[in-house]
């Protein structure tokens, strides 16, 4: 689905990613594991066009992502939940979830259908719907960010350290939600970064280890 080839990224003269290559397959969950500062976030941001790359290619199916500016990638069906949530504080939770739908000019009924779908998968969100985005805690925010990403994620879903800072109960819920999602939307390719792999063992199909901007080893099927 998404194919990353020889990705090079430098920030302020320091090379952060060195020839990162891997493919995401539809219906499969790929986990990117690495220590702090290894380049996980940078990889995701580059896919979203938030970070300029110095080399390499990004292909979504047959589409070259270079032809699409950062803001166009949501419309192509790539959903992204950033590490630090980044909700719009002044919007309600529901408005936050709907934001990508407005941005990509989604039809009204399609919008509603997807919102309901998100609420089905993540029932906690429904109860928070009209709280302001600035008023939810760190963990709740992760859920909202996932819901928001799902609004447009037709092909690829990028989740940056979704479990970080989640209380274990919530992390389990989150993992279950991911599983439900996996079943409900088998066509999506998942890319999840994580520094603690154990939570993902149940859902990961592939896992990649990234170290200092290099993909170190590749496990075929996760244990």
């Amino acid at each position: 689905m998404l194919s990353i080839k020889n990705l090079d990224v430098s920030i302020e003269g320091a090379q952060i990613l060195r020839g990162v290559s891997f493919d995401l397959e539809a219906g499969k969950t790929t986990v990117l594991i690495g220590r702090n500062g290894a380049g996980k976030t940078t990889t995701l941001r580059t896919v979203m066009g938030l970070q300029t790359k110095t080399g390499g290619r990004l292909m979504l199916g047959k589409t070259d992502l270079d032809r699409h500016p950062g803001y166009g990638r949501a419309k192509l069906g790539i959903g992204y939940a950033p590490e630090d949530r980044r909700l719009i504080p002044a919007f309600t939770v529901e408005e936050n979830i709907l934001l990508p739908a407005y941005a990509t000019r989604m039809q009204r009924d399609e919008r509603q259908r997807r919102l309901n779908e998100v609420y089905d998968l993540l029932p906690q969100l429904k109860t928070m719907g009209d709280r302001p985005g600035g008023g939810v805690s760190g963990g709740q925010g992760k859920m909202v960010a996932l819901g928001r990403a799902l609004m447009v994620a037709d092909h690829v879903l990028l989740l940056d350290e979704p479990f970080q800072g989640l209380a274990p109960a919530l992390a389990l819920e989150y993992a279950q939600a991911l599983k439900r999602l996996r079943e409900a939307r088998p066509e999506i390719a998942f890319l999840i970064t994580e520094s603690s792999p154990e939570l993902l063992s149940s859902i990961a199909d592939h896992s990649l280890q990234i170290e200092r901007g290099l993909i170190e080893m590749e496990h075929g099927e996760a244990a």
Partner: protein
């Protein structure tokens, strides 16, 4: 039984109708390593904010020893000996790591030292020593704004340690730190605390960390304390399992 270092009585605070603290009573005893766990949004960070003067509770009082400190500015509370590390690292992002730590040391020793330079050997040596605690000395000359999240977190803890406080409050010290490094971080932290004889409180989501390191654990839910005690027992409490630990 040892003296309480910090005591909170009946703290209450709500945001937009959401109760982040709903009658919190808690004591931290001298020399202990107390863990706070709880679901997300249950008010753990808010509690730390109230203890350190960043937020004022609408009711209740926080005592440091016998002295009420509610309503005091964070800097006065800091001078009384409570230091804090943050959930989201709070650093001076356009200065080097070394400068960050030296500034913290200078604050402790009294920042009003006239025009004497900051990078005198006393400061530099102590700062490097502190940085060495978490193996950060290699990054001493790095602008902290460009450090990866995990290292920023460690830097943040180092700044709090530099104040050499009586009581150290740590908000999720291991979140954002990769699983591989989590325990070694905690080991280093415990060593530092012990050698300095500090009392500490830490908010944590990793139950394994709590189990291994906490002397006592307090469980938060929706602004209330729902359980308290020895980690081994508390973590088995069905209420805690349901709301916080989760059933695998």
């Amino acid at each position: 039984m040892s003296q309480p270092v910090l005591r909170a009585e009946g703290l209450e605070l709500a945001f937009f109708g959401v109760k982040a603290a709903d009658g919190i009573d808690l004591e931290i005893r001298e020399g202990e390593f107390l863990a706070i766990i709880g679901s997300n949004g249950s008010g753990k960070t808010t509690f730390l904010n109230m203890c350190t003067g960043y937020l004022s509770p609408t009711a209740g009082t926080v005592y440091l020893g016998e002295k009420p400190i509610t309503g005091m500015a964070p800097r006065r509370i800091a001078r009384l000996g409570i230091a804090r590390a943050f959930q989201i690292p709070q650093l001076f992002t356009d200065q080097t790591l070394l400068e960050n730590v030296m500034l913290a040391i200078a604050s402790r020793r009294g920042i009003w030292e006239g025009l004497k330079p900051l990078n005198r050997s006393v400061y530099v040596e102590e700062a490097l020593e502190l940085l060495a605690l978490f193996g950060l000395e290699r990054h001493a000359e790095t602008i902290t704004g460009t450090l990866p999240e995990g290292l920023r977190k460690l830097a943040d803890i180092t700044l709090a340690l530099a104040l050499n406080p009586k009581l150290l409050l740590l908000d999720e010290p291991t979140s954002g730190v990769s699983a591989i490094e989590r325990f070694s971080l905690m080991e280093k932290l415990m060593a530092a605390l012990r050698s300095r004889q500090m009392t500490a409180l830490f908010v944590e989501h990793d139950m394994e960390v709590v189990r291994r390191y906490a002397d006592r654990v307090v469980v938060w839910d929706a602004g209330k304390i729902i359980a308290e005690g020895n980690p081994a027992q508390v973590l088995k409490d069905p209420k805690v399992v349901e709301r916080v630990v989760g059933v695998v």
